[in-house]
């Protein structure tokens, strides 16, 4: 019986077929799914903030794009995945409230997406597809078998990227 592994906010996990891996309600956060396309080992990390260097409370690597992605890759490698075969798909990074203030928070979604892309680039992991930005929340489910990344949003048709 295939299971669906749940990843919380500022959390990560790995997954092998026939299981699926999901994270619910991505707002400004970004859900990064990485998979070794040959041996089909996959994983998902739900990051909240772009950089662990900007804040003091940085004990949890899965909270940040710059530490969460390397941590996920390390976990995948431990399971036997090979870095050079890894590919990524990303979703999230929305702007939930359209505020115009000078708050650090405005544009956090965009900053999360930018930091995610930067980190993946530095690690030479290509991004095959993305569904980012806009102003709505997303629930994502990743299938390590096919590499399909399913994106659900309220009042919108199901999207597979």
């Amino acid at each position: 019986m295939p299971e669906t592994i749940k990843v919380g906010i500022a959390d990560l996990n790995v997954c092998t077929p026939p299981n699926l891996i999901t994270t619910i309600g991505l707002g400004s956060c970004v859900g990064i799914a990485i998979r070794d396309k040959q041996n089909k080992i996959g994983g998902l990390v739900h990051v909240m903030l772009p950089s662990s260097k900007e804040v003091k409370s940085n004990g949890n690597p899965a909270k940040f794009a710059d530490t969460g992605i390397p941590e996920l890759v390390r976990r995948l490698e431990k399971m036997g995945a090979i870095r050079s075969r890894m590919v990524a798909k990303i979703a999230g990074g929305a702007t939930m409230f359209a505020f115009n203030s000078k708050s650090e928070l405005s544009g956090i979604g965009d900053r999360n997406v930018a930091a995610t892309k930067q980190t993946l680039k530095e690690m030479n992991i290509p991004i095959l597809a993305e569904d980012t930005g806009a102003n709505y929340g997303r629930t994502v489910t990743f299938d390590p078998e096919t590499g399909d990344y399913e994106v659900k949003a309220v009042g919108k048709p199901l999207k597979v990227i």
Partner: protein
Amino acid sequence: MADKPDLTIEEMSDKYFDVLKEIGNIGAGNATTALSTMLGTRVDMMVPKVRLMEFKEVGTTLGGEEQLVAGIYLVVDGDIHGSIMFIQKKESARAMVQKLMGMPSEGEDFSEMELSALKEIGNVITGAYLNSLATLTNLTIYPSVPYVCIDMAGAILSVPAIEFGAISDKMLLIQTDFADDVELSGYFILVPDEESDAKILHALGF
């Protein structure tokens, strides 16, 4: 990594927690009065519950991360900086709006008018809370105009979670249940930044 002795939320004294709780109490009391005037009916209020919770738990509190909720968000400026959010289930929001406008709404989505009414409700409720905070601390607090968003609880709660995320893995949630002929339940989430925590404490004589 914890080389600085900064106060994390976990380490905040019980006293500070009590203070925020008391402000929550008074604020919710004021909010109830305001809401009652606005809706033109009697509104009862339960004792607010103040809880410090892990991000993971927050979604489940509101009926799961995929529960549709309405969040009304205001940026706070002045002597303290931060943000305040009033969040309630979509049905609760709809019930309040219908009461306020005195007519049933049509369709699944909120109309422009209803969204505007919802913002006003959020404004009144958060305003009442901020007022009690300002009065108790003698600090000047300016809220921004309200912003509204209706979406999955997980996605909306990620906004204050991200703000708390810079200092902690937990956030402070104040649950307020208003009772009327329908149950109206809502949550406040106040996120003062670190400097503001110190200011609030100082203003209260700690």
